[in-house]
């Protein structure tokens, strides 16, 4: 029974990734845009390239990248490549391959997007739980309203305002970039602190924009749980309030939030597209945003695949772990 369930989940996982990959494969190809031509056109514009030579170059590159083949064949070959772990070359940043680009952008994204998501998740849930907890101080409950307002504001807009007030006006933090000019990436404490300083504003915009989501969700769950018999029972049993809060309250309320976390890792990339571009950060989001504007579909495929695969795997793991955390839920026996 369990094995059957596991197999079904894995099949589902494969289905999600395959469907997503297929959709993402065909959308950019339906358009008449030619990213190679656009790339060389851009070079032609800025470097006084003789445009007569564009056609030869473009044709040569189309052959090189296999774009001259029928679309369906390209699809099959691309999927084959994906299975072998080859995401193809970048059309607009050749000779870089998509995998190289992803790996060089990934650390920045992990540091910024993942951490902010986790911080926001932890902080938001804590605040939300406290807000719904009858014994918490008043000011925690008062925090909910501003948090809710902030959650309604896109991270991009928050970023814009933060740049203006904190960096522009008060000159407290850098206005953009991943690290100070002239510094070379290294493992020194100095570099890490410098890079961290540059991540503060983007991180704050992302955290503020998502904090409310977790807090509100958690508060809702908490309120629901309050009425549950087991909480009442625990209270009557005379358990210490802190024990009730952590063991009965937070633990139960947190469960559905965990599912949300898997999805949030995916959606934060989307905020990342805008925020990383706003701050000029070399992460995955900025890379993707740039690729979309330039229609560099191999990068688009690569990153979306990467993101979707991550989400799907996370959801899969959450699914598997869930029953362990919540004894009430059992696998369907069908």
């Amino acid at each position: 029974m369990r094995l059957g369930y596991l197999v079904r989940r894995i099949l589902f996982l494969v289905a999600v990734v395959w469907v997503a990959a297929t959709i993402v494969f065909f959308i950019p190809r339906l358009s008449a845009r030619n990213p190679i031509r656009e790339r060389f056109a851009e070079i032609a514009r800025s470097t006084g390239f003789a445009p007569k030579d564009l056609d030869q170059i473009i044709a040569a590159y189309e052959v090189k990248f296999g774009l001259d083949k029928p679309l369906l064949q390209q699809y099959v070959e691309y999927m084959g490549g994906v299975l072998r772990g080859d995401l193809g070359p970048s059309l607009t940043r050749f000779p870089k391959t998509v995998l190289e680009l992803i790996f060089s952008a990934l650390p920045w994204t992990i540091v910024l997007l993942m951490l902010t998501t986790l911080i926001s998740f932890a902080l938001g849930n804590l605040l939300g739980a406290l807000a719904s907890w009858p014994r918490s101080p008043k000011f925690v409950k008062g925090l909910m309203a501003p948090l809710m307002m902030l959650q309604a504001v896109p991270a991009y807009l928050l970023g814009l305002l933060l740049i203006f007030f904190i960096a522009f006006r008060l000159k407290l933090l850098p206005m953009g970039g991943a690290y100070s000019q002239g510094v070379t990436p290294s493992l020194t404490l100095e570099f890490i602190l410098d890079a961290a300083r540059h991540q503060i504003l983007p991180a704050i915009s992302l955290i503020l924009a998502s904090l409310g989501f977790w807090a509100l969700g958690m508060r809702g769950m908490g309120i629901t749980i309050q009425g549950e018999d087991y909480v009442n029972f625990a209270e009557h049993k005379g358990l210490h309030p802190r024990t009730i809060f952590t063991q009965y309250y937070v633990r139960n309320a947190l469960l559905p939030q965990v599912t949300g976390l898997a999805l949030a890792f995916g959606s934060v990339i989307v905020s990342g597209v805008l925020v990383e571009q706003l701050y000029g950060l070399p992460g995955l989001g900025g890379l993707l945003g740039d690729a979309i504007l330039k229609n560099d579909y191999f990068i688009i495929y690569g990153i979306t695949l990467f993101v979707i695969l991550s989400i799907a795997i996370l959801m899969f793991l959450v699914d598997l772990i869930y029953p362990l955390l919540d004894p009430r839920i059992r696998y369907e026996s069908r």
Partner: protein, 610 residues
Amino acid sequence: MTKNKITRRQLLRLSALAGTGAVIAACAPAAPAAPAAPAAEAPQAPAAEATQAPAPEVQVPEVPRNRTVIMGWGASDFDNIGVTSPFAAGHNHQNFNSSLWDPLYYWAAFSDTVYPWLAASDPEYNADYTEVTIKLRDGIEWSDGTPITAKDVAFTVNTWRDNDKLDYHSRVAPYVKEAIAVDDKTAKIVFKQPSPRFVFDVLTAHFDTGRPIVPAHVLEKEADVTAFPGGLDMPHSGPYKLVSWTNNQKIFDLREDWWAIKTGFQPVPEVKRVIMQRIGDDMGVVAQRVVNNELDTALDFRNDIIANILKQNPKVTTHTGDKEPHGYLDWWPNSLWMNHEIEPFSDVRVRRAINRAVNRDQIDEVVYGGAKVSTIYPFPLYPPLQKFADSPGVQAIVEKYQPRKFDLEESAKLMEEAGYKKNADGLWEKDGKTVPTQISGFAGIHADIVPVLSEMLRQAGFDTGEGPDFSPEAYNNMANGRPGLYMFGHGASLRDPFAVFELFNTKPTGNTAGSNNFSRYNNPEFEKLVLEMAKYPAGDPKFDELALQAMEFYYKDVIDVPIIQWLHRIAYNQTYWVNWPTETNVGEGYNGAFWHWTGPRVIAALKPAG
């Protein structure tokens, strides 16, 4: 990904302590290590791997701030990491890779001077311009110590001629029969037809054109020179070497063993290090960083921004100091282009009506704060071209066609003559079709002018669609001749108007970007004129006479609708560096754009402040 799973539980506690710094520190080690990881995944670029992977680990020596120039540059040029060979597909000199490569000659726009560089003297053409001989300087060498010889020159020119994947193929192949190394110091190029402009157009670095000589001993070995990226270690000829290149910045350090220093040809440059700093899309932020002295210079600004930079930091200056227009003329005057081969732009009356709907005075006033930026010429008004524009012949033609006249009534009359009527929306319509005049441009540089133009045309009854189109395929659409208007420049004439006429002359090319003649102007008479003109150097009376006739065609047939001169409003921050090239400090006469091929000459002239 599973890592997150494991840490999730602890994280609640961790982040509750708000240990942001600690957490970032814990995760950061992944950052510098990562670029090395994917090396195995690059099947087609072995050289790139070799140079990219160790790059972040290079220990870059310390250089004090007052010996370092920091320049802000747009994001996309940081991404083709390791592409340094001028023959590599995707090579771009604008990210200061120009400083790796020395040309045979430099041309300085504001002094109208050609400086022999690798060449020892001016080129010697034969009487009918079918051959040219170039003598090389003594002591010139590549960074690996190999001497630069005439063989490198011949290799460079002949490879352009033979390899149709190279960017200068079509500029060289029709003209060059053979480039020959007569001896180590003497190169001779034999032409198929008289080519009085060849050395200037192809072998002289000016603005974004002209190309340097490449090392034969390196590239000869490559089966496909366009696929060989070069990398950071490729032997080169220029004053700087690349010591670090990430997607955030590039660091160039001075080569003390540069041939020009060794031979005493040039003094040792004061700038020991050049940093190209990646900047975001928000030019307000870039401007603020100039104000904060974080950047010594950056790519050019729009009109209002540069004025506000000067207001906020008195140490910053521009080409014209604190006077309008805060910049100098670039060689790229912009027009509205349209495809003459398709309805309704095939009708000269429609093209003329569009020109009559453009209020150039209002453009100057609204977009440029009163500075006279709008133009009626397809070439920049550098001294020789200003002379041409001011000549009685040209003035008589201008008087006759009045290209600057803004006249909505005349515009309407022309449209009615062409069979158009205003529809319910107040837009010109014929057979149920409006005039497709949505204007495409480039967001970074046209977001100020294009919305204004778009509205002008709409007010005159032209259907500008959903407003400006700044999507990156604009150039493609223009090259493919799709309906619409395209804001684009003429990177052509510098010393005489020939190049721009040649630009208009190319044969129509169907559906590909086979030509820069985006108008697809096709006029046998005009073509004959241009072919005849090609035989005469500028200044020849015969040339002037033909140029005048060509100019008349330009206005009579409204080949395109000239809109503005292009200005480079570059901020020069004098906190750390002085002696930037300005109107009052012409120096050798180079224009201040550090992203041009002449950029290294601008940097070489800088002196430390104080």
